[in-house]
Symmetry: C2
Subunit: 148 residues, 2 copies
DNA sequence: TTAATTGATACTAATATAGTATCAATTAAA
DNA sequence: TTTAATTGATACTATATTAGTATCAATTAA
């Protein structure tokens, strides 16, 4: 059982790259090569993130993508929802015969409780947090300004 | 993002049926029809559960399946592992370039922490607990003995 | 004018999930 | 002892999801 698919995985990595270069544009090509993400695949992910207002883009030479939303407000939960759909444990585990009344079904409650736990755990993890953790662990990285 | 697949879903339902009839055999056919599970699909699941010593079977007329392991010791985590593989958030989110040393990677720690949370939440849910909840909510069910 | 870029979209490949079919072996019961 | 109900084993098909590739038009800095 794999919780994060490649979509989400790559998206997080791309966002970390953009968050690190906050304020300047970075091309899909450079993100792809630097972080070992399939180029065309990445482009599709970036466009989805534009639609969700996480990032912005500029076309043409010297164009690229740039962080828009505050990295501390981008949670892994949000990314999972964008790329894998809302977290749901199971549509409805025990239909018909067993469970007549959906409304006050204990099993359903149990399921929804877990959904909540999972979701809130992922909510604690933001791009901002990950980036700070990364930089703390890996102080080699200098803060990128305009040096390509 | 769907956490429980049909395998696990059906397996849980089948186990609840068997747990309710503890001590007597119940055929795949009756489980399938009573709980609306595709017959041949179910049979495969039952055989997997035999291999994991959750249930036992008896061949021939009047044969069927019977609970073996204590329902309170069958966790949803165990079932997920059997039918969907071990819970893992992501193989390794940031390879190569970003993360040189796997050993003390903060991101990896974060991931593993969540894995633990998810896993332990599902560990709290046992077949025994689900069955008791079900019976409490649905007191129509009489304890099945030998009446078919 | 050109080359580097994104926008949009269609396509293919690989894998996982879901479901079906078949036949041999066993066994209770007619 | 024959038969029908059952499990054991396994192969097969269908569908959906995930992963990845390709193409071409539009934009824009140099
Ligand atoms: S399990 Fe679906 S309503 Fe009870
Ligand atoms: S993310 Fe894989 S080792 Fe750091």
């Amino acid at each position: 059982m794999k919780v994060l698919t490649k979509n989400t995985d790559y998206a997080i990595r791309a966002l970390l790259a953009l968050a690190a270069k906050k304020g300047s544009y970075m091309s899909a090509k450079s993100i792809a090569t630097e972080h070992d993400i399939p180029y065309q695949f990445l482009r599709r992910l970036l466009q989805q993130m534009i639609r969700h207002n996480l990032i912005v883009s500029k076309e043409g030479v010297q164009g690229g993508f740039m962080m828009q939303k505050n990295p501390d407000e981008i949670t892994v939960t949000e990314l999972i929802e964008i790329f894998q759909g809302k977290v749901q444990v199971s549509e409805c585990m025990f239909r018909k015969q067993i469970c007549g009344n959906r409304a006050r079904c204990v099993l359903r409650h149990e399921i929804m409780r877990i959904e909540q736990v999972v979701q809130s755990e992922f909510e604690k993890v933001t791009i901002g947090k990950l980036l700070r953790d990364l930089e703390a662990a890996n102080p080699v990285h200098q803060k990128a300004t305009t040096i390509s």
